[in-house]
Point group: C2
Chain length 289, copies 2
């Protein structure tokens, strides 16, 4: 596995590679868990060359968010990426990615003003700006994201379609701990009691899903029940529970086509998210490939 | 010369071509004059394959601007492009470029809030949005612009640098009529008396430049003299005369490095722009290559 830290070197190399080989790209902020590794492994199955980037992007963190305390372990990431079949690990510096103040900014309207976008203003603007840069540097044929951040997948879908990136978006299932908690780099920031409570995010979503399977069609009722479960079973503060059309992320009065039921809960040092996607019959949608 | 109207067909074709040949791209709104043709001819000298696009982009016209009356002559454009050495003429429809409401928007800060950007809010946002789409569809190695719209060149320079497009920006000299008037598709909308007055935009800029050559360093004095000449010699209304650093487009108190002296004048049915770029010694800068 090759490690490249310079954007210029990377771009020149990728231009050459793209002439003869297919490229799969897994953008990450590092501190790999099995969710990341599943994306890399799938990329290795699908493409000639697998590129993973590690870049904790300051642009997508708000002033009061956890940019500084976001967990980092480059040495372990290098080892894990190599094992997962990554060919090129791209680890640019902030200074190389943002050498001067950005004059051009990207913004996203409808899909960003709900869920995490509401409590994290500017977050998805930062995400799509860095992704546009990375897409232009790496020129992938396919890019891989985990559905744990379903809103991010929806926003990247809009980015690729609206701006005609010749890239196929692959969204893979959320990887979970044995008890069901969605894997997240932020889980290490949970206190012990919070860790055992955190599984209730998933259980609450499953409860909401079961209501739909049992015939409930009113989003307000489902959302309320999910909130009640989380409030009863955890010490965290509910940031949101929402049920929206997917991937359009519009509010729905009844369930048609795909919807996402999503939750964010703030614990003391970690804000966790989780979601479940299903259609009007309650059939679970685990990936978009 | 091949004519392609579908974005999908175009993108697939260009992905293939880019694997083995260098691509020069001239984005236009059509109604070709010698300015456009000079860009195409240079692109043909520099690259294996020359692509020109014709797309009157509704996104870059304000509600009270001349989108509808912007001149169009596809038949003549096809003939001229072929003569100029274009290999592929890309003529997408509005519906194919914007099949749904755009969710992602690009904006530009510092370089857009002066000159034409001030009187045409949203104009450069529209320009960089459509260019990002076209760059992703066409994947050029080099892209060609005329310096007649010096602000557009500055904004495209920011777009390419900020978002890491692997594209070299080539800015070529303004092509002029025999009397000095900058060639423009909008010149056909000038009344007869306006056409003979219009040369005074150029003459006024040359007068401003001569002041610098003669030792004047105060932008305010130079700008005032240029405005006086235009007001005296034309029936048009001065939209702006500004002298700014180039390509940063920051206001300057004295001339250091490159500056642009730029003018926009509104005639009855045509709004004309022109500019002149020079350094602190008055040396003219005619192209960026």
């Amino acid at each position: 596995m090759k490690i490249i830290r310079s954007t210029t070197v990377m771009q020149e190399k990728m231009i050459k590679i793209s002439k003869s080989e297919s490229i799969g790209f897994v953008p990450t902020m590092g501190y790999f868990h099995e969710g990341h590794l599943a994306l890399m492994k799938q990329a290795a199955e699908d493409n000639d060359v697998v590129v993973t980037s590690i870049f904790v992007n300051p642009l997508q963190f708000g002033p009061n968010e956890d940019y500084e305390q976001y967990p980092r372990d480059e040495e372990q990431d290098i080892r894990l990426a190599e094992q997962a079949g990554v060919d090129i690990l791209f680890i640019p510096s902030v200074k190389d990615m943002y050498p001067t103040k950005m004059n051009i900014t990207l913004s996203v309207e409808e899909r960003a003003n709900v869920l995490c976008g509401r409590s994290r203003p500017g977050h998805f603007e930062g995400v799509i700006t860095v992704l546009t840069k990375l897409f232009n540097i790496i020129r992938p044929n396919k890019t891989y994201f985990g559905l744990k951040d379903a809103q991010q997948v929806a926003v990247v879908d809009a980015l690729i379609n609206d701006l005609n990136f010749p890239i196929q978006l692959i969204a893979l299932p959320t990887i979970r701990e044995h008890d069901g908690l969605a894997k997240s780099s932020r889980n290490v920031n949970l206190a012990n009691d919070e860790r055992s409570q955190a599984v209730w995010l998933t259980k609450a979503l499953e409860h909401g899903h079961q209501l739909v399977v049992d015939g409930e069609q009113n989003p307000a009722i489902i959302v309320k029940e999910v909130i009640d479960v989380i409030n009863r079973e955890t010490s965290g503060t509910v940031d949101y529970v929402e049920m929206l059309s997917y991937p359009e992320l519009q509010s729905v009065s009844t369930i048609k086509n795909n919807v996402v039921l999503a939750v964010a809960v703030q614990f003391k040092r970690a804000r966790l998210i989780d979601n479940i996607i299903f259609n009007e019959n309650g059939k679970l949608i685990r990936q978009f490939y």
